[in-house]
Amino acid sequence: MSYDVPIAPGETPDEISVEGPQSTAWPLWEVFMRPKRGLSHTHCGSLHAPDAESAILNARDAYTRLGDTASLWVVPSTHIHASSDPTSMFDPADDKPYRHPTFFEIPDEVGQL
């Protein structure tokens, strides 16, 4: 399906502004799902809901319809703090190749190590 609905001859595309008013509707929640016991919760998306209880119910309806879920977390999106600038933030790891075990050459005769 061509979801980029084409612009008909004689029509102009609508101006899109991200400077517009932010949502006055229900707050945004991030949804984390544990697919089965023994695995971590991983982020699966977000949704709007008036409170945590409804957020969990909405998350169930939106993200678990195939029944592949053992547990859900919801977190207000405003409570997520993210790292900035990936180019410098993770520099400290760049010059330490010796942290990876393959850095060290060990003769085969030594066996499992």
Partner: protein
């Protein structure tokens, strides 16, 4: 600084890595994505209407339960996609408003009516089938949240296509009247389904830029050909034909060659003059307005619970 950002962006695209919400991106990339993902979301939401039309008249309880589940999936797909659009910095309110006011559109396929039960099968097989071809391609799109939404959606679309084809297989084994109903549905949905892939590459103004940004990975015409090649034999398996006198298999290329698409009809529907354009939007805005009390009640309840827990604390 801006140049550095552009270089970083270009390098990410070139390396086939994903752009993520907090990354710098060109304004055109952002607005193209907002437009495309929002219209994709609107399509899922409006797409519930033609199918919901037959929930009360499904021929068996099982078919009814399946159709309800499918329509619920469409609502879910709309939600994944609205969330993905919001990561680009636009609010849900604004997206909603743009759909209701007609400032943004949705796939024209949903401006056709569902006249018989066979249409529900034809939608699952032909319309969702076309959606799958497009959405598999879009799993490889360069914007992370859109790509992840596509992966999730594709997992659920096979159910839709197969339930549709199963409806049609039942009709194909039915009475002459049922067989006629089946053929009639294919006759009406075939061309609009081919139009779903959009204008020819030569007339598609955005395709080139979208391909460069890797928002789209395969062109409209190539996707359409893939779709025709997989779908024509499925029509024949049902004992049906597709309404195209020029359709023939080209031994040399291994493809089904098909006749000319009626682009006048296509543009008429895109411009808002299809059989169901006005009804779809009127219904959508009515349901939104009628549901206001539910949203208000949910907020009032949340506020009351919150004020109680503060008092206890």
């Amino acid at each position: 600084m801006a140049v550095e950002h552009q270089v970083q962006f270009d390098r990410t695209i070139e390396a086939d890595e994903k752009i993520e919400p907090r990354d710098w991106m060109p304004d055109g990339y952002r607005s193209t994505l907002i437009r495309q993902i929002a219209q994709h979301a609107h399509s899922e939401v409006i797409g519930m209407q033609p199918e919901a039309n037959w929930i009360t008249r499904a021929p068996t309880l099982l078919r009814k339960a399946i159709l309800i589940a499918k329509v619920q999936d469409e609502a879910g797909h709309g939600l994944y996609l609205y969330s993905a659009t919001e990561t680009l910095g636009i609010s849900r309110d604004e997206l909603q408003e743009m759909l209701h006011s007609g400032r943004q559109k949705y796939s024209s396929i949903f401006n056709y009516p569902t006249l018989s039960w066979a249409d529900i099968g034809a939608i699952g097989w032909l319309v969702d089938g076309a959606a799958i071809v497009n959405q598999i391609m879009l799993q490889g799109t360069s914007y992370g949240p859109y790509s992840r939404a596509m992966v999730r959606i594709c997992k659920e679309e096979s159910f839709h296509a197969r339930q549709g084809y199963a409806i049609l297989m039942a009709l194909a084994k039915g009475t002459d009247e049922q067989k006629a109903m089946l053929q009639d549905a294919i006759d009406r949905w075939w061309w609009p389904s081919l139009m779903m892939f959009g204008p020819h590459d030569s007339d598609s103004t955005h395709t080139e830029q979208s391909m460069e940004w890797k928002i789209k990975r395969i062109s409209n015409d190539d996707l359409r050909q893939m779709y025709v090649d997989q779908t024509v034999p499925q029509a024949h398996y049902l004992g049906c034909s597709v309404p195209d006198p020029d359709l023939h298999f080209d031994e040399e290329s291994g493809h089904w060659n098909f006749g000319a698409i009626d682009w006048d009809e296509f543009w008429t529907v895109v411009k808002g003059n299809g059989p169901m354009n006005r009804e779809r939007i009127n219904h959508k805005t009515k349901v939104w307005d009628d549901g206001a009390w539910v949203r208000e009640a949910a907020v009032a309840y949340a506020e009351k619970q919150a004020s109680r827990s503060t008092k206890i604390a």
